[in-house]
Amino acid sequence: MVSLWQIFLVFAKIGSFTIGGGYAMIPLIRDELVKRGWISEEELPDIIALAQSAPGVLAVNMSIFAGYKMRGFKGSVAATLGSSLPSFLIILLIAMLFTGYQDNPIVVRIFKGIRPVVVSLILVPMINMARKGNKTWWAWVISAATLFMVAFMNFSPIYILLTIIVVAFCVTMIKERRQGNG
């Protein structure tokens, strides 16, 4: 069994390299957790989907979810502490000691290089997930429609997810009924 200390350390590593929003965490979770066999490849999209359906910081939600899958409640606490502690300490250090951090020329140059690279790190797991997960034409329609509505029409992801949950639930129920009767 994975120890809580190991969970904490791996999530501290993930948290230290999550730069930007929670989506930047996805390639790290894949690389650290799926490759170690702590969570399965199939569970990853489920974790993201359900973490996104709850309020709060996406990265924290994914940590709670993944931590729970590994070691229950204690695992979710260890994972959340791990993914937030590096940020917490770094921010405190900056707040106390480095005024003008955001204008420091070295920091600015480093982040000029990191930002475009992070975009690609978000894009690549999406390509991998689509190739492995989208097995029907219907799945591709859902992916394309979601992408279009969020990226180009400013829809909030939560409304799309809630609508899909309700519609998918009704469709699945009707299918089950029909099969039950036939």
Binding site: G20, K112, G113, I114, L147
Partner: protein
């Protein structure tokens, strides 16, 4: 002496923010701004803008970074010392995480129980491709902003992330490294930072 009420208010405000933010850290920023700058006047607009910039330019989830920093600044600006201000950081960060804990733990228990249920599986088979679309959208939003109704409708590059053509070369190189050569995300981020330092 700091009014202990400040901590209670910080806790309450960030708890509400954690409870009502949907869509991750960036959606959270505007909510924090409304509460911290407009409603409570704890920080000025320009102080908050600096905090947002710093939250994006430090490792870690943006929402956590911002809560930590705001908690610190709010207590510090009320005249407290560093140690008391750290308590402000802790209060804000804990408060913003707490609603997630309650809600996500409920969802994950439900998930482990119904993972192999046919109806649940049916719903998930619709949600998974939606997540693919959401991630794609997140990447596109970091690259381009689309304007349908403004004075000059059209697509423009997000200059914050893509400052010049070198950014696109770095982006392409990272994509090839990750997709074709299976290089892990951490070496790619480190290389991006090092190249940024060398080139710019």
């Amino acid at each position: 002496m700091v009014d202990p009420l400040v901590f209670a208010q910080l806790f309450w405000v960030f708890f509400i923010i954690g409870l009502f933010t949907f869509g991750g850290g960036y959606a959270m920023l505007s909510l924090i701004q409304t509460q911290v700058v407009t409603a409570h006047s704890w920080l000025t607009e320009s102080a908050f803008t600096d905090i947002v910039a710093i939250s994006q330019m430090t490792p870690g989830p943006v929402g956590i970074n911002c809560a930590t920093y705001v908690g610190y600044e709010v207590v510090r600006s009320s005249g407290a010392g560093h140690l008391i201000a750290i308590l402000g950081s802790f209060t804000a960060t804990l408060a913003v995480v707490l609603p997630s804990f309650i809600i996500v733990l409920t969802i994950v228990r439900f998930y482990t129980k119904f993972q192999h249920n046919r109806i649940f599986e049916g719903v998930m088979s619709w949600l998974r491709p939606a997540v693919v679309g959401l991630i794609g959208a997140a990447a596109i939003i970091l690259m381009f902003s689309v304007d349908w109704v403004g004075t000059k409708p059209g697509v423009s590059v997000v200059e914050e992330n893509f400052t010049d053509w070198i950014s696109w070369v770095l982006f392409a190189a990272a994509t090839v490294a990750s997709l074709v050569f299976k290089v892990g995300p951490i070496p790619i981020i480190l290389a991006g930072g090092a190249l940024g330092l060398l080139i710019y």
